[in-house]
């Protein structure tokens, strides 16, 4: 089974690498959205510092939601998904390794890009470290939660609009604790409590989302 999981992971990463323009465009979307805020709100450094956690987190949330369309669409089009349903390995684990690959291609680049954007917003180095930590914990949770929405809408016409509608309300706790941690760090209150809650959310999503995803995929392809 381990081999099957590794196989799916490696295959999805190879596919993502072949279509790296997609990965790049959701990263550019992230950078663009974040860069629009100073233009809209003015270049005052104090203001920028205050809004930075929220802006970066909302942009990361939107960008990772946009990327969800790629998660199952390709496999659905070429029939791989149906083969996964028939595979002897539990579907939830196969889905988990797909989500992991998706995160490496979508969430990890966001996390890596965030420190640079933090500098744009005049954040202190320590706060930037907290920001990166929250994104490292939060984006996998977003990928897991989002995968449920992607699985429910596989093959539907309006999927691109529908997925954000389904996923964004469910992702609100991640946004709150992610942005809250950076906020708390900036205010000197310490981000520990938020980070552990974020970790708790990730653990919960890790346990529940693959099962819900597997159920959703079986329904969608029935």
């Amino acid at each position: 089974m381990w081999r099957a999981l590794k196989g799916i992971f490696a295959r999805d990463l190879a596919l993502a690498w072949r279509q790296r323009a997609d990965v790049l465009s959701s990263l550019v979307f992230f950078v663009m959205v974040v860069s629009l805020f100073p233009l809209g709100l003015g270049p005052e450094p104090a203001t920028l510092r205050a809004i930075a956690p929220g802006v970066l987190w909302v942009a990361a949330l939107l960008s990772s939601t946009l990327a969800l369309g790629r998660l199952f669409a390709g496999d659905h089009a070429d029939g791989t998904l149906e083969q996964m349903l028939l595979a002897p390995q539990p579907l939830a684990f196969l889905v988990l390794s797909k989500i992991a690959a998706h995160w490496v291609a979508a969430g990890l680049p966001l996390t890596a890009m965030a420190p640079l954007l933090g500098l744009q917003f005049d954040m202190a180095p320590a706060d930037i470290a907290v920001l990166t930590a929250t994104l490292a914990l939060g984006t996998p949770a977003l990928s897991l939660i989002g995968a449920i929405g992607a699985a429910l809408t596989v093959g539907l016409r309006g999927a691109a609009v529908l997925v954000p509608l389904l996923v964004l309300p469910l992702a609100i706790p991640v946004l709150i604790f992610g942005a809250g941690a950076v906020d708390a760090a900036e205010a000197g209150r310490g981000a520990g409590a938020h980070l552990s809650l974020l970790g708790g959310l990730l653990a919960f999503a890790l346990a529940g989302a693959p099962l819900a995803c597997a159920a959703a995929l079986r329904i969608s392809l029935d």
Partner: protein, 268 residues
């Protein structure tokens, strides 16, 4: 349960309601439609009577509130609407889960039938809350934990309705909606507590809504009677909608034929 209800109905060839316990007999949508048809007017009548009684108590018996004056009388619709919005979501998720677990189509239809009514109550809770908030706290909206959660609840309802509307195959729509409703219901407490935590961090803008003054007994009575009225209305509306859903999916001919002689004059 599954055996009496699984499989597809071919139009024009309605299946006889299976013999067996009464509740099982009505688990088949085609058998349930006439029952729903007979019950709906009763629930609506009960809702109307209770609403008149509740409004009478609320406007003519309940005294003026010492602090808020007359404007508090919005609570006779606001609080019931807020309660119903949350309660209907739970009931909806319950029926969705039953439908998913036992493969009963009627339960899934019941979940779809409840969603628009639940969304309506959520909207009413937000609307009346805003109209209450303006004169009481001087603002239409505060990012209070309860208000924010209610708004997110509205998003959850909209997501459920939009997902089911986007899927053409009714079976897939039922089951996909069920997964979403269950995921939503698991998330509701997490959302609520995260929003509360978030709210306490940003105390600046918030107004304390928890320090409610002690309520006169008649006020409470009025509120409870109105809640019952909303409850009856919600059941009536859901039964009505479930009939429409059954007619849309199974064909009205199937419904009529099955009900046969049971049916009296035309209602509605």
């Amino acid at each position: 349960m599954a055996s009496s209800d699984s499989g597809n109905h071919a139009p024009g060839a309605p299946r006889r309601a299976a013999a067996g316990p009464l509740w099982l007999r009505y688990a088949a949508p085609v058998a349930f439609a006439p029952l729903a048809r007979r019950m709906t007017p009763w629930f609506f009548a009960a809702a109307a009577v209770l609403a008149v009684a509740g409004l009478y108590i609320g406007f003519f018996v309940a005294p003026t509130d010492a602090q808020q004056g007359e404007v508090y009388r919005v609570i006779f619709i606001h609080v019931p609407a807020a309660w119903m919005s949350m309660f209907i979501y739970l009931v909806m998720a319950f029926w969705a889960a039953v439908g998913l677990a036992f493969n009963t189509r009627l339960s899934a239809m019941m979940a779809s039938a409840l969603a628009p009514t639940g969304a309506m109550f959520t909207f009413l809770a937000l609307w009346t809350g805003a109209l209450w908030g303006k004169p009481t706290w001087g603002t239409w909206w505060v990012w209070d934990a309860r208000l924010t959660s209610e708004l997110i609840l509205l998003f959850l309802y909209v997501g459920f309705i939009a997902l089911q509307a986007a899927i053409d195959d009714p079976r897939r729509a039922d089951r996909a909606g069920a997964v979403l409703a269950i995921v939503g219901v698991v998330n509701v407490p997490i959302i609520y507590f995260s929003v509360r935590w978030w709210n306490t961090l940003h105390q600046g803008a918030s107004v304390s809504l928890t320090a409610a003054p002690k309520m006169a007994a008649t006020m409470l009575t009025g509120m409870l009677v109105m809640t019952l009225a909303c409850w009856m209305y919600a059941i009536g509306a859901a039964l009505w909608r479930v009939r429409a859903i059954i007619a849309e999916r199974e064909g009205d001919a199937a419904v009529e034929e099955q009900s046969g002689t049971e049916r009296g004059g035309r209602t509605t």
